[in-house]
């Protein structure tokens, strides 16, 4: 499926909100590695403007989301909760196979 400009703009703003929410949750936690990853997520998001299109923009958004997943995983780990797995949301993906699963 091709992402159009509206999809990309929507994804950008959703990611921005997600990262801000994560930043608030992270403020109360002593998880330096997660702070580093959150910084990388924001960097990846800022590398693409809200109206930008094309494969490069999509790549940056994908990076931002990957870092966000890692931070969420860190927060869950700190709380002793089960790990977040993108595979749990496989039904939402428009793909034959979710490209990552818990291996180890």
């Amino acid at each position: 499926m091709e992402a159009n400009s509206i999809d990309l703009r929507r994804a950008y703003h959703q990611l921005e909100r997600l990262l801000r929410d994560i930043a608030v949750a992270l403020e109360k936690e002593d998880v330096p590695a997660a702070r580093l990853d959150l910084g990388k997520a924001f960097d990846a998001l800022r590398a693409v403007g809200p109206g930008e299109e094309g494969p490069e923009a999509l790549r940056h958004l994908d990076h931002a989301l990957s870092y966000a997943h890692r931070v969420i995983g860190d927060l869950l780990h700190e709380k002793g909760l089960a790990p977040h797995s993108p595979a749990d949301f496989a039904g939402w993906f428009d793909a034959a196979e979710v490209p990552f699963r818990e291996d180890w």
Binding site: P32, A33, L36, A82, P83, S85, W104
Partner: protein
Amino acid sequence: MIPLDRYPKEITLRDDARAVLRPMRSGDADGLWNFLRQLPEIDKSHFHEDVDRREVVERWATSLDYDAALPILAIHGERVVGSATLFRNNTGWKQRIGIVRILISPDHRHLGLGTAMIREIRHLGEKAGLNYLLAEVIEEQQAAVRALERMGFEKAVVYRNFVNDRKGDLHNLVVLLHPMSCLGI
């Protein structure tokens, strides 16, 4: 000294089972021995000593020095099901590099325990003020390589036919590095 007040730490695995993480203690020789015995041969390749000898394992458990090697065990019920060790040099040119070694029981794989152990070691590495974590993995251990990469480790180099297993067969060695937050990269 790395603060250890976060232990014992309870975690939840993907099957909702609970495991406890805590530093190895001198009384863990039996648990460690049983854990090591069930590991596949390839997972034992990196040990400098013969872990099939009970006295070796007992010596490890009774000669702990957390400043040099901090082993964190994952306990499920009464069993040791995983270990993650952070090796450090307190002096010299590698004192800001931590070496990571993680082992997971075969019947506790695919549950997120390996990833949880990597997260734990990353946290300890940050608290120790390290610049880098370094992991060495035999290339066949693809699940470990993927988990390390997903957690921010990057392949630095692959040495071809570089290390031998306990039968003498050669394997490729993958060296992965994880830059810590104090580097700001």
